[in-house]
C-alpha cells in the first residue's frame, strides 16, 4: 500500500475518533435530559478540587467554549474526576484496561486457534458428520448469550475454580510473585473460557466459509488435477488465500471483543474496562461513563484501522 492509501485510512480513523469525541461531549453535556450539567460536583470532594474542575472545564462558560476546553483537557489526558472514588478518570481507566487486555488477548488467541482447527476440518470434509457437528456447535455457541455461558460455568465449576475477582486476598502471608501469578491465572480460567466459547462460534463459521469460497476456485481444481496432496492444497493453496478475510476478522473482532468483554467481566466481577463501565452506569458516575465509552470506542476504531491496513497489505489487488 502506498503512503497515500495509508494516510487516507489514518485520516478516516482520526476523523471517526473526532466525531466520537464530539458525540461523547454532546451526549453528556448538551442534550436535554443529560444529567451531567455540572461534573465538578464530585461527591465527598474538597472545595479546591471542585474549584479546579470548574476552572479546567469552564463549567460556567457557554457550551461551545466548554467543548473546546473539553478537547483541550482531553488532549492533555484530563478526563475529569470519578464520582465514585475521587480519582482521575484516566488513571482508573488505565488500571482497568491493564486487567482487560491479558484476558482478551489470551481468549482471542485460543479461540482463533480452535476456530482455525475446526474451521479447516469442516471445510476439508464438507458435508461430513464432522462438518455438521462442528457447524452446529458453532451456531449454538454463537446464539447463546455470553452471560448465560458464564453463569453455566459458575454453577458447574464454581466450586472448583475461583469464580469472582482477579486475585485472592492473602491475609497471613505475603505471596511470592510466582504465587501471585498462579493465583491470577487460576482466576482467569473461567472468564477466559467463557470468552473463548463466545468468540469461537463466529470464528469457526467465518473460517469455514472463507475456505469454502476459495476451495471452489479454479486454481484449487488445477492443484487437485496436478495430483497434489489434499494437505498441500489446503495448507499452501486454500489457507494462504483464506488468510485475508481471516486476518481481517481477527483484528476486527479484537475490537469488538473489548466491548463484548463487558458481560464476562460483570458475571465474574473481573476488574476490567467492562466492569468499570458497568459500575459507572450503576453508580451514575458520569465522568467515568464518558471516559469508558471514549476508551472503548477509540480502541475499537484503532483495531479497525489495523485490520484495514493489514487487509490491504495482504491483498496486493487493493494496494494503491
Amino acid at each position: 500500500m502506498g503512503v497515500r492509501g495509508l494516510l487516507k485510512r489514518v485520516a478516516f480513523a482520526i476523523a471517526t475518533i473526532f466525531v466520537a469525541i464530539t458525540i461523547n461531549f454532546f451526549l453528556f453535556r448538551v442534550l436535554p435530559g443529560s444529567a451531567i450539567t455540572n461534573w465538578a460536583r464530585v461527591p465527598n470532594s474538597t472545595p479546591q478540587l471542585q474549584h479546579l474542575l470548574k476552572a479546567q472545564f469552564g463549567l460556567d462558560k457557554p457550551k461551545i467554549d466548554q467543548y473546546f476546553l473539553y478537547l483541550n483537557q482531553l488532549f492533555h489526558g484530563n478526563l475529569g474526576v470519578s464520582f465514585a472514588n475521587q480519582q482521575p478518570v484516566l488513571g482508573n481507566l488505565v488500571a482497568a484496561l491493564r486487567n482487560t487486555i491479558p484476558l482478551v488477548t489470551i481468549a482471542t488467541i485460543i479461540a482463533s486457534l480452535l476456530g482455525l482447527w475446526t474451521g479447516v476440518l469442516s471445510a476439508r470434509r464438507r458435508g461430513s458428520l464432522v462438518d455438521h457437528a462442528s457447524t452446529s456447535v458453532a451456531v449454538v455457541l454463537y446464539a447463546l448469550p455470553t452471560q448465560w455461558i458464564g453463569l453455566g460455568f459458575l454453577v458447574l465449576l464454581g466450586r472448583y475454580l475461583p469464580s469472582a475477582g482477579m486475585s485472592s486476598v492473602f491475609t497471613f502471608t505475603t505471596p511470592t510473585p510466582w504465587q501471585h501469578f498462579l493465583d491470577i491465572a487460576k482466576h482467569m480460567i473461567l472468564p477466559c473460557a467463557t470468552l473463548v466459547l463466545t468468540i469461537y462460534g463466529g470464528n469457526t463459521l467465518i473460517i469455514r466459509s472463507a475456505l469454502l469460497e476459495i476451495v471452489g476456485e479454479d486454481f484449487i481444481l488445477t492443484a487437485r488435477a496436478k495430483g497434489l496432496a489434499p494437505r498441500t492444497i489446503m495448507g499452501s493453496h486454500a489457507l494462504r488465500n483464506a488468510v485475508l478475510p481471516i486476518v481481517t476478522l481477527f483484528a476486527l473482532s479484537f475490537g469488538y471483543i473489548v466491548a463484548g468483554t463487558i458481560l464476562v467481566e460483570i458475571v465474574f466481577t473481573w476488574p476490567g474496562i467492562g466492569s468499570a463501565l458497568y459500575n459507572a452506569v450503576v453508580a451514575r458516575d458520569y465522568p467515568m461513563m464518558q471516559g469508558g465509552f471514549l476508551v472503548i470506542t477509540v480502541s475499537v476504531i484503532f483495531f479497525n484501522l489495523v485490520a484495514d491496513i493489514l487487509y490491504s497489505r495482504l491483498d496486493p489487488r487493493i494496494r494503491e
Binding site: T16, F28, V139, Y142, P145, W148, T248, I262, V282, R317
Partner: protein
C-alpha cells in the same frame, strides 16, 4: 405509419412470483428452514397466548424460594418463589416485542438511507455512507449502554436505542441492491416517461427490495434480541418488566449461582438461543435465495457487521483497479 410505444410490463408482478418460486426452492433445498420457521411460529404463539397459558401469576409467590423443577413447577422457582415457567412465557412477550419493534425502527432508518443512497448517488450517497461507516465502526453496544443509561430505564427507550443504532447493515445491503436496480431497463423506461423519483422509488424500486428487506429484518431481530438481553442484563431495561434479559440479570445478581439454582437462568438462555438460531436459519436462507451474490457476505448475524466492513474496504476501491494497474505500468 404509427409508432406504438410500449412500456415494458411492470416487472414487479413477475418478480413476486419468481421470489415465491425461489422461496419454495429454498424450502426444498434446506429443510433446516422449516425448523427455523416452526421455532419462530412457536415462540410468537407463546408470546401471543402469554397470559392464557401462564400456569401461575408472576406477581405472587407460588412455592419455596429456589424450589427445583417439579411436576407442579416445570422450570422451578426463582429467588422470590415465583414460577419460572410463567416468567419465561412472559419474558417471550416483551423480548419478542422489543426485538420486533427495535427491528422495525432500524428497518425504517436503514431502508430509507439505503434507498436514498443507492438511488440518488452522488453527494447524498457519499454523505449517507460516511455516516453509515461511522456507525458501523463504533462499538454500537457500548453506545447503546451509554445512551440507555443517560436516558433512563424503560422498555420504549430500549426499543429506540437499539433501533437507532442497528440500521447500518440494512442500509448497506439495500443500497447495493438499489444501485444495481436503478441501472435496470424498467427504471430508465419509467424515467423516460417522466416518472418522478418518488414514483419510481415507491412503485418500482421498493417492490424489488421488499423481499430483501424482509430477509434482512429477520436477521436483525436476532441482533436486536441479543442487544436487548444485554441492556436488560445491565439493568437498563424497565425494572418492572419481566424479560429474558432481566431473568438472567436476577439470576446473576441474586445468589442463584450459590444456590446452584441452574433453573433460574437456563430456560431464558435456551429460549434466546433458540430464537436467534431460528432467525439465523430463516433469514440467511431467505437472503441467499433472493440474492445469491450476497451468499458469502454474512456467515453469522453478529459477525456480519465485521464482514460488512471488510466488504466495504473491498468496494471502496474502484473495481478492477488491481487488474488494470500492472497493465498500465507495462505500457
Amino acid at each position: 405509419m404509427s409508432v406504438v410505444v410500449r412500456t415494458q410490463p411492470d416487472p414487479s408482478a413477475e418478480a413476486s412470483s419468481g421470489h415465491l418460486e425461489s422461496v419454495r426452492g429454498m424450502l426444498r433445498e434446506r429443510p433446516s428452514v422449516v425448523l427455523g420457521l416452526a421455532l419462530l411460529a412457536f415462540f410468537i404463539l407463546v408470546a401471543l397466548l402469554g397470559p392464557l397459558i401462564e400456569p401461575y401469576s408472576t406477581a405472587a409467590q407460588s412455592g419455596p424460594v429456589y424450589g427445583p423443577p417439579s411436576l407442579r413447577h416445570w422450570f422451578g422457582l426463582d429467588d422470590g418463589g415465583i414460577d419460572m415457567f410463567s416468567e419465561t412465557i412472559q419474558g417471550a412477550r416483551i423480548s419478542l416485542l422489543v426485538g420486533g419493534a427495535a427491528t422495525l425502527v432500524s428497518l425504517l432508518i436503514g431502508g430509507t438511507i439505503g434507498i436514498a443512497s443507492g438511488y440518488f448517488g452522488g453527494v447524498i450517497d457519499t454523505v449517507l455512507m460516511r455516516i453509515t461507516d461511522f456507525f458501523l465502526v463504533i462499538p454500537s453496544l457500548v453506545l447503546m449502554i451509554v445512551v440507555a443509561a443517560l436516558w433512563g430505564p424503560s422498555v420504549t427507550h430500549v426499543i429506540f436505542v437499539i433501533g437507532l443504532l442497528l440500521w447500518t447493515t440494512t442500509a448497506r445491503v439495500i443500497r447495493a441492491q438499489v444501485k444495481s436496480l436503478r441501472e435496470r431497463g424498467f427504471v430508465s423506461h419509467a424515467r423516460s416517461f417522466g416518472a418522478t423519483s418518488r414514483r419510481i422509488i415507491l412503485r418500482h424500486i421498493l417492490p424489488h427490495v421488499a423481499p430483501l428487506l424482509i430477509a434482512n429484518m429477520i436477521l436483525m431481530v436476532a441482533n436486536a434480541i441479543f442487544d436487548e438481553t444485554t441492556l436488560d442484563f445491565l439493568g437498563l431495561g424497565s425494572a418492572s418488566a419481566v424479560t429474558w434479559g432481566t431473568l438472567l440479570e436476577h439470576a446473576n445478581d441474586r445468589t442463584a449461582v450459590s444456590y446452584g439454582a441452574w433453573w433460574a437462568f437456563v430456560p431464558p438462555g435456551v429460549c434466546i438461543a433458540l430464537v436467534i438460531v431460528a432467525c439465523y436459519l430463516v433469514g440467511q436462507a431467505l437472503e441467499d435465495s433472493l440474492n445469491p451474490r450476497l451468499r458469502v457476505a454474512h456467515i453469522s448475524t453478529k459477525f456480519w457487521r465485521i464482514q460488512q466492513v471488510a466488504q466495504t474496504l473491498r468496494s471502496a476501491e474502484p473495481a478492477g483497479r488491481g487488474r488494470t494497474g500492472p497493465l498500465k505500468d507495462r505500457k
